[in-house]
Symmetry: C2
Subunit: 358 residues, 2 copies
């Protein structure tokens, strides 16, 4: 089967920090993206807006986008609440009629829209709602603590700080070291990139940890190390429940703390700055205390997202994070991920040693 060709809709919101799904798909599969639809930045290239992605064009209309002959149209933004802007439904209808599949990670399922569902059936196209949870998720039973590979979860100081990107960068680096490494996607964007996973924020609340457990059991097959994509933050007023369910259900052996260095307040509440992001050392304390209540938990490194800083400031931020937490720190997108890869390999060896003694 030929590779898919995506037209990504990120209208009005294509931006290094906003259009997370679009940006990540472009970062890891630029060859699959034929165009981005954003009226605000139309005429520019993806490289112009993101600083990566090359000459992929940004177009102003659905017709221009469809003229690039995509095989699928992907919703590339993840707005708070996850609702589809009304205007877009007509674009999606046109896309189905033009022979494209639809791919979405919104909470509101495209396949539940009667018009779109009927059109998809009529034209023989597929609607992929990546946030639709699998059936029969179990209540977590601690089974993830029994798997053989070393399991590492990213945790954050906020939403959208780079937890998924950190894991994808580290996955590549660990594979390059010869370790069989599986990335476990827990959100819609990770699922688009990896091809499987469960959006743990979209399952019924009682089953968050159970969904995480299932994912780790699957990711553990044929792996030396499993890197689980984190979600939200332990002090996020809206999403902390998802974060804790994932923390406990995954029974991870180690954590990597992720932070966007220039962010001062928890993000969704920036219009009325309310919750100041506490020091990194406080996060280490919180995650280790609450994580260890179910399974031994240790933060082993810090990943910084320094996309909006100078090189010198970014290096200084990494040094400061190391000083504050006593842990290795880097920006695995901008700099060499070796300090964190070394930490993971080292901790895994200790862990294997412990397992051997049991």
């Amino acid at each position: 089967m030929a590779d898919p060709r995506y037209l990504i809709i990120a209208d009005g919101n294509f931006h290094p920090l906003e259009s997370k799904t679009a940006n990540s798909v472009i970062r890891y599969h630029p060859d699959r993206v034929v165009a981005v639809l954003d009226r605000r930045s139309a005429g520019k290239t993806v490289q112009d807006v993101l600083g990566f992605g090359g000459p992929i064009p940004i177009v102003a209309t659905i017709d221009e986008g469809l003229a690039k002959q995509p095989t699928a149209v992907m919703i590339g933004i993840a707005p708070a609440g996850g609702k589809l802007p009304d205007e877009w439904t007509a674009w999606l209808a046109k896309s189905l009629a033009a022979g494209c599949d639809l791919i979405s990670g919104l909470h509101t399922f495209l396949s539940d829209d009667p018009t779109l569902a009927a059109l998809a059936a009529k034209h023989g196209r597929t609607i992929v709602d990546a946030r639709k949870p699998p059936k029969n998720i179990p209540i977590a039973a601690g089974l993830a603590r029994l798997v053989d590979p070393f399991v590492v979860l990213t945790v954050g100081t906020d939403c959208n700080v780079g937890k998924m990107t950190a894991q994808l960068q580290l996955t590549a680096a660990l594979k390059a070291r010869g370790l069989r490494t599986n990335f476990v996607a827990t959100g819609q964007t990770g699922i688009f990139i990896e091809g499987w996973g469960t959006a743990v924020d979209a399952v019924i609340a009682d089953f968050i940890a159970g969904a995480a457990e299932e994912l780790v059991l699957r990711g553990a097959k044929d792996a030396d190390i499993v890197l689980v994509e984190g979600q939200g933050s332990i002090n996020h007023p809206g999403y902390s429940g998802v974060t804790l369910g994932l923390l406990h259900g995954s029974c991870r052996d180690a954590l990597i703390l992720c932070h966007q260095s220039t962010r001062d307040y928890i993000g969704e509440y920036r219009t009325t700055p309310w919750l100041k992001i506490p020091p990194l050392a406080r996060y280490v304390e919180m995650y280790e205390l609450i994580g260890s209540a179910v399974h031994p938990t240790k933060v082993i490194g810090v990943c910084l997202n320094t996309f909006d800083m100078t090189d010198a400031d970014a290096r200084a931020a990494c040094r400061e994070a190391e000083r504050e937490t006593g842990l290795p720190s880097t920006d695995p997108v901008r700099f060499d991920p070796t300090p964190l890869v070394d930490a993971m390999v080292r901790e895994r060896e200790k862990y294997q040693g412990k397992k051997g003694k049991q």
Copy 2:
């Protein structure tokens, strides 16, 4: 409208510690319950099994139960995972045909069963699925921290330790002191008892805190004090996500820690004792640290569930809890709830003082 008359199904599982929904409805509305269906204890009275509830009969068949002329048949057990035992569907069909409504708090909605839905329509009966969440729950935005009343949440050392019962006992005692007190139900049993609420464990994971926020805003109307029913436990491997979403979304001013004194291990995992319940002081530390990450959090008292202890042992357990935590402690079902009511009134006065200064 006449009061409802319930036949409660708790077959095979009617027990002081197991049939939580049945037991609580009987405790707070014994006048509404005409019979309990449980083949294991048929012939006994509810009083025989629970130690309260009086002469309500326990019957062995659905026909015996329907002969007591209930207006509604209620599912009285909450099994792990929330699934309806297959055998019961026939009983429920018979109940609809006999003119009864159905009331359920299971995760699997009775109204989604085509046979039951068709029968309900045919006989003009109602199926109440208390766990069906309201539409359009928002992402939590910290609004609950702005309400006027003093908000108190119960938190637990495990599921099913008495968090709801504690709040209902304290609600009655606070009302008796002349305080306008609203109980906020967050689970199906509380909803059955209070008549409104949202089962926060049944909403989509991203909306747990938003559901809690909506409930507190509603409960705050015409109240001096709001008592929110807690869910799960911060170290429960399956349900901790629900607990934390509720803790953060409710923006409560104070917590009451609930524990069943004879329990040593987290309950759902008793078949393979895995997670030992840590000391109460450790829970105080965990709840205060993680709660305060979003809104100032203080544990102000301990409620013990001593149903299976002698009076002397129960009193000793309360003294030991006070010694360990430095907080007032009682079993508000068995003993006088005054120590906890005093603590709540005292903390509320301090809080009003602080508010006045803002």
